[in-house]
């Protein structure tokens, strides 16, 4: 359950950061979702032998403890891997500010309590430029749909369904089963002949 997120901002001044970069495929071979933070942005932080590389922004002591990322357009495009969201959360990231997000990533984030804030491109650029120069703290208020940074306070748009899930920490599966079981059953009943045709063809090869 999240109402307000406050924290230090780390800038990633790159666009089109795909989920392959957030967590490489080799770390998807686990059957659990915990402990993925150490693989976050792995190829940008470690070389082929697993030795730490210099210069990745999240490893800069200046940004240690940052819990809000601000980045370029289309963050999280590419592969549907929810591991990307799990890795960000495990690392300690609570929110991401960007002009746009990959659709599946955005949905995965909402389901795991990672806040994605869509802002205009100029705003993202401004926060990135400032955070490259000095320490920037931001505050995201889901109740009032506001983003505060450097003494400024702006509103942002967020889908009501996403906001509610983030604020209430709802278990979607449990809720659907509780509230919509009847509707699903009625639909299956109504569409029986249609579904049956498709079921009927389902004989093993």
């Amino acid at each position: 359950m999240i109402t307000v997120i406050e924290g230090k901002v780390a800038p990633l001044p790159i666009e089109n950061i795909d989920t392959d970069q957030i967590i490489p495929a080799q770390f998807l071979k686990i059957t659990k979702r915990e402990g993925l933070g150490k693989y976050l942005f792995y190829r940008w932080r470690y070389d082929e032998q697993g030795r730490p590389k210099d210069g990745f922004i999240l490893d800069d002591p200046k940004y240690s403890g940052a819990s809000i990322l601000v980045t370029g357009r289309n963050f999280g495009i590419g592969s549907s891997r929810e591991h990307a969201v799990w890795a960000l959360i495990d690392y300690g990231i609570k929110a991401i500010i960007a002009p746009s997000f990959g659709d599946i990533f955005y949905e995965n984030a909402a389901r795991n309590g990672l806040v994605c804030v869509k802002v205009r491109e100029e705003i993202a650029k401004e926060i990135i430029e400032e955070a490259l120069k000095r320490e920037v703290y931001a505050r995201i208020d889901l109740e009032n749909k506001t983003l505060s940074y450097l003494g400024k306070n702006i509103g942002f748009e967020i889908e009501e369904s996403v906001r509610k899930r983030l604020m209430l920490g709802l278990d979607d599966v449990g809720l659907t089963l509780e509230l919509y079981e009847g509707a699903i059953k009625r639909y299956e009943e109504k569409m029986k002949s249609y579904i049956k045709i498709r079921k009927g063809i389902f004989t093993p090869l």
Binding site: D20, P24, A25, D103, E107, N108, R111, L177
Partner: protein, 488 residues
């Protein structure tokens, strides 16, 4: 006002609404070994069942080895994920196309080829390229693992209704230009995020003129423009493609259903939130030079100069991409030498793709020093290709002829690039490290990959002899095996 096919399917499957989301019934749920284990784990924790195991199909594809299937699997992590899927499928009564099944393959190749994917269906799978199935007129969504869990438990999906985008493709393509080139040129024009939040419908006389397997390359690649889904209205080609497939409806029901499928096609005057039109007759064979599919050029172009970009973020992105790719601004695409060739993936590993590559390969040799491999999209594709004798063409030229899986497209099995290796690849993503740490990927069509294999560098395939179909395969046998549509 008329409706789009996407709206028709949406409305048919809508069960409820809550705020900005609708609850859709899912007709087909494909699961695979990488994005499903956590979903099953959570079902167990909460003591929930799989609501409709009969509408769920499990396939092993992402990390399966593509070598000898009788050899032991050496990667313990791959083995664990495969065994976990086996266990879950068995426990919950889900049909599994196992590693050893003669019908195993990449989920987005197998679904359509077995007739499991049909027009008008809603489809979900924990893989971003699920929209591939849209080429048959299904509404297909890539989803995350939490959503996989939701579909398993409820057979439904909560989803915000995307906007509709029309991509109208007009004109006749030039010689040697495949739908992969059209897709890459499109992504280059609209960008990696050009279709975010939209269901793309491919329309226009070009789309009507190409076969269903070429269409699947288009809907597959819409993923790389950020689309939420992609779809093509079913026509007679779609119906012919589906008829007679193992899981397709029996003949007495088929004609009835085909009528329904035709009625799904987008109505005249349907509304699209966004429109984009492209003349395919001007498109040349494409080669990506960067680290997103949108960083693409025609084969006779040059690698761009970062300083030519006004936008700072773009400039930095291009600089970074060229550094990673080891390319210099201004060099000709045809000067780029390659070490590896990969013909495979859910984008371009169907029989049509393999035949196209063979038209260039036959009677030639892979350039010495280049390692080239064909990884058929499914074991069925492989078997059909072997009946047609295609494997001999590839093997004689020096290609490896492997078993099916996602393979070098994602590098989760042993098929990987070594650091610095450069690959001409028919897959869909040229992201940094995608095909292996430090690997450099250039996305191309099967024809262009074949030509690159022979020359050891990129070359305009139009300068090559592209043999007529009858010199590659026995046309009667092709017809007999159910590929008559390729001849019409």
């Amino acid at each position: 006002m008329g409706l789009t096919i996407y709206e028709k399917i949406w409305d048919m499957h809508k069960i409820a609404s809550d705020n900005d989301r609708d609850l859709l019934y899912i007709d087909r749920h494909y699961i695979h070994e990488v994005t499903s284990p956590v979903a099953f784990e959570r079902l167990r924790i909460y003591g929930r069942r799989v609501r409709r195991p009969d509408l769920t199909i499990a396939i092993m594809d992402h990390n399966v080895p593509t070598g000898d299937r009788t050899a032991p699997i050496t990667d313990p992590l791959s083995l664990e994920q495969m065994e976990t899927l086996r266990k879950n499928a068995h426990q919950y009564g889900i049909m599994l196309l196992d590693y050893y099944s003669p019908y195993q393959g990449i989920v987005h190749v197998v679904g359509p080829e077995l007739g499991l994917t049909l027009p008008g269906m809603t489809i979900a799978c924990g893989d971003s390229h699920t929209m591939t199935h849209g080429a048959l007129g299904a509404l297909a969504f890539g989803i995350g693992t939490s959503e996989v869990e939701h579909v398993l438990a409820t057979q439904t999906l909560w989803i915000k209704k995307p906007m509709a985008m029309e991509v109208r493709l007009m004109g006749r393509p030039g010689k040697g230009v495949m739908s992969k080139d059209v897709a890459l040129a499109l992504i280059g024009a609209i960008g990696s995020g050009g279709a975010i939040g939209h269901v793309v419908e491919f329309r226009g006389d070009y789309v009507e003129s190409i076969n269903v397997e070429e269409r699947m390359t288009l809907t597959n690649m819409a993923t790389e423009a950020g689309a939420r889904s992609a779809i093509i209205s079913p026509d007679e080609k779609t119906i012919e493609y589906i008829r007679g497939r193992p899981f397709a409806p029996a003949s007495e029901e088929f004609d009835e259903l085909a009528k329904f499928w035709r009625s799904l096609a987008t109505d005249p005057g349907a509304y699209f939130h966004k429109k984009f039109e492209m003349d395919v007759s001007k498109i040349e064979p494409q080669v990506t030079w960067g680290t997103t599919p949108a960083m693409v050029a025609s084969v006779n172009d040059i690698v761009p100069d970062p300083s030519s970009y006004e936008d700072r973020v773009m400039r930095v992105s291009v600089e970074r991409a060229l550094r990673y790719m080891g390319l210099k601004p201004g060099m000709k695409i045809t000067e780029i030498k390659i070490d590896r060739v990969f013909i495979g993936s859910c984008t371009n590993a169907r029989l049509y793709d393999l035949i196209q590559a063979a038209r260039v390969i036959k009677g030639k040799k892979v350039k010495s020093g280049v390692r080239a491999m064909v990884v058929p999209g499914s074991q069925l594709v492989k078997r059909q290709a072997e009946r047609l004798g295609l494997h001999r063409i590839f093997i004689e030229a020096g290609f490896e002829w492997r078993n099916s899986g996602c393979s070098l497209c994602i590098g989760m099995n042993e098929d990987r690039l070594s650091p610095g290796e450069r690959c001409a690849s028919t897959s869909n993503r040229n992201f940094e490290n995608r095909q292996g740490p430090g690997g450099r990927t250039h996305l191309v069509s099967p024809l262009m990959a074949a030509a690159a294999a022979i020359e050891g560098k990129f070359v305009d395939v139009r300068e090559f002899e592209i043999l007529p179909l009858e010199e590659i395969v026995d046309l009667d046998l092709l017809e007999k095996l159910g590929y008559g549509w390729m001849l019409r």
